[in-house]
């Protein structure tokens, strides 16, 4: 059967050897099982993310996005632009909407794009989507369940959605304050979604770097509550959330005397394992804090 085709925007953190490399690794099995084909946009550049604002300003940031959109439109016409990183998804989608909304901005962007001999159709409005959207809207929960061969029985998981996977766009029909889709995915994999009041708490984002103490206070809540609600691990759709929440646990332990050792994995890693993926295929070997429960299942 023919595979569903998508233009793929990996984003900086998902490159080989980058902080979310294992995230992308875990896509493999899923795409095979669900007949999804992700076609990488040639020579894509950084989406400029929201944190680019200080030096970047408005237009340069949007132009960075515009270049990616133009490339995608040129090389992979008609294919929705999919990315695994919420920040990238947000930046691409925002760029598309802002350019659509203002013809003057569109003109300015195209003036700048001349420098790379690209042009964005003034009527360009190809959808930019997050990979979870593809799974939920194009595959559906039933479709996601179908290939499950190793249900994650008895694994208790806190679904941590975070910010940019949820706001300002989020998944259609989901609430900003209490989104359900991650929990549904967890259940789809046969695991148990624990009630979790820090679902949409900010992890500090890029500021985890520059304001470690302030950000780590938030991360402490996020991890602490997962423990309070009896979770074995935290699952997230966002590389930055994953990195922040995983990496800084040791820091927090040092400063606050906590004994955090909570694995933080991606939803794709859950699906991957449930679909029979190996530890390596699921990128579980990429965890700083190993997700033993998952590894045990994957190892079987």
């Amino acid at each position: 059967m023919t595979k569903k085709q998508y233009a793929f925007y990996p984003g900086c953190s998902s490159q080989k050897g980058a902080s979310a490399a294992n995230y992308i690794t875990s896509f493999g099995v899923i795409c095979d099982k669900l007949d999804i084909q992700l076609n990488e946009i040639p020579d894509w550049n950084c989406c400029a993310a929201s944190i680019g604002y200080a030096e970047g300003g408005e237009l340069p940031r949007i132009v960075m996005g515009a270049r990616n959109l133009a490339l995608s439109d040129q090389h992979l016409p008609g294919q929705d632009i999919v990315s695994g990183c919420p920040a990238c998804w947000l930046a691409n989608r925002e760029a598309t909407e802002r350019l659509q909304h203002s013809s003057s901005l569109m003109a300015e962007a195209n003036e700048a794009l001349k420098e790379v001999s690209l042009k964005l159709r003034t009527d360009f409005n190809t959808k930019s989507r997050h990979f979870t959207e593809v799974l939920i809207e194009d595959i559906g929960y039933a479709g996601m369940k179908a290939p499950v061969v190793k249900p994650l029985d008895g694994v208790k998981i806190a679904g941590y959605v975070g910010c940019q996977a949820n706001r300002p766009y989020g998944i259609a029909g989901e609430s900003f304050e209490n989104p359900q889709y991650l929990d549904k995915m967890i259940e789809t994999c046969g695991a148990e979604a624990v009630p979790y009041d820090q679902k949409v708490t900010c992890c500090g984002g890029a500021l985890a770097f520059s304001e470690p103490d302030k950000a780590q206070a938030l991360i402490q809540d996020i991890v602490g509550s997962a423990y309070d609600h009896g979770a074995d691990l935290i699952v997230t759709p966002c590389p930055l959330c994953q990195a922040n929440v995983e990496i800084y646990q040791s820091e927090i332990n040092k400063k606050k005397g906590t004994k955090f050792n909570m694995p933080v994995v991606y939803y794709t890693q859950l699906l991957n394992v449930a679909y029979g993926g190996s530890i390596k295929e699921a990128g579980l070997d990429g965890q700083l804090i190993r997700a033993e429960k998952l590894e045990k299942i994957a190892g079987k």
């Binding site: 900086c12 953190s13 490159q15 080989k16 050897g17 980058a18 902080s19 979310a20 490399a21 294992n22 020579d43 894509w44 550049n45 950084c46 400029a48 993310a49 929201s50 944190i51 680019g52 604002y53 200080a54 030096e55 970047g56 300003g57 408005e58 237009l59 340069p60 960075m64 270049r67 300015e108 962007a109 003036e111 700048a112 794009l113 420098e115 790379v116 001999s117 910010c163 940019q164 706001r167 300002p168 900003f176 708490t201 900010c202 500090g204 984002g205 890029a206 500021l207 770097f209 520059s210 304001e211 302030k214 938030l218 990496i247 040791s250 820091e251 070997d285 990429g286 965890q287 700083l288």
Partner: protein, 206 residues
């Protein structure tokens, strides 16, 4: 020669609201705020900054130009978008905060060495240099922002994590020498230079 700041002051005299509307990303929304304060209560970094968004909007209307542009408040934005989705007047508050920060920075009024400003700058430079962010150089630059000695301390402090990431294959030491890059970096540089030129022209900061 007169600085960008002096030009702006001269141009908008004492009407800071007009200045913001003309020069700040989404600045024309500021006047629509009705002072409900939902943004102030929604910010995860709320406890850490001096002025809440809604208060900054009031200060803009009250013409407190220096106070606003020199404040570190908008630099505390984590881009969580809570304020934006809850605002009953649908103000794109996150973007306005970024816009204000950027404008203050361009006028040279923003607080020097404000850590978030530094990473915002470093991130952008990193992104621009190769067209893609090089996480290692980016983080090293971050550690060394306060000079070599402090840098080594910072780096050592995070060493465990660093090694962990390397072991996990999520941080590549080789990137020091070579790393991910776009083919058309020079084009990207020209493109961005152009974009900035257009934006500055539009904002009267040429």
């Amino acid at each position: 020669m007169t600085t960008a700041n002096e030009t702006a002051v001269a141009k908008y005299r004492n009407n800071f609201l007009k200045e913001v509307e003309a020069t700040v990303e989404e600045g024309h929304w500021v006047k629509m705020c009705m002072q409900c304060g939902v943004c102030a209560g929604s910010c995860p970094f709320g406890p850490h900054w001096e002025h809440s968004p809604q208060k900054i909007f009031m200060m803009i209307r009250a013409g407190k130009r220096e106070e606003v542009l020199k404040s570190d408040s908008m630099w505390m934005c984590t881009s969580c978008y809570n304020c934006m989705v809850r605002c009953p007047r649908e103000l794109p508050i996150t973007h306005i905060m970024h816009g204000l920060a950027n404008y203050a920075y361009r006028l040279g009024l923003s607080p020097k060495g404000q850590p978030n400003q530094v990473i915002a700058k470093l991130f952008w430079e990193s992104a621009l240099k190769y067209g893609r962010v090089n996480e290692l150089k980016f983080s090293l630059a971050m550690y060394f922002r306060d000079g070599f000695v402090q840098g080594v301390k910072n780096a050592l402090a995070m060493q465990g994590v660093g090694l962990g990431l390397v072991k996990a294959g999520r941080l590549n030491p080789m990137e020091i020498i070579s790393g991910h890059t776009c083919k058309d970096t020079s084009g990207i540089h020209k493109m961005i230079a152009k974009a900035r030129e257009i934006e500055d022209r539009r904002r009267g900061l040429a």
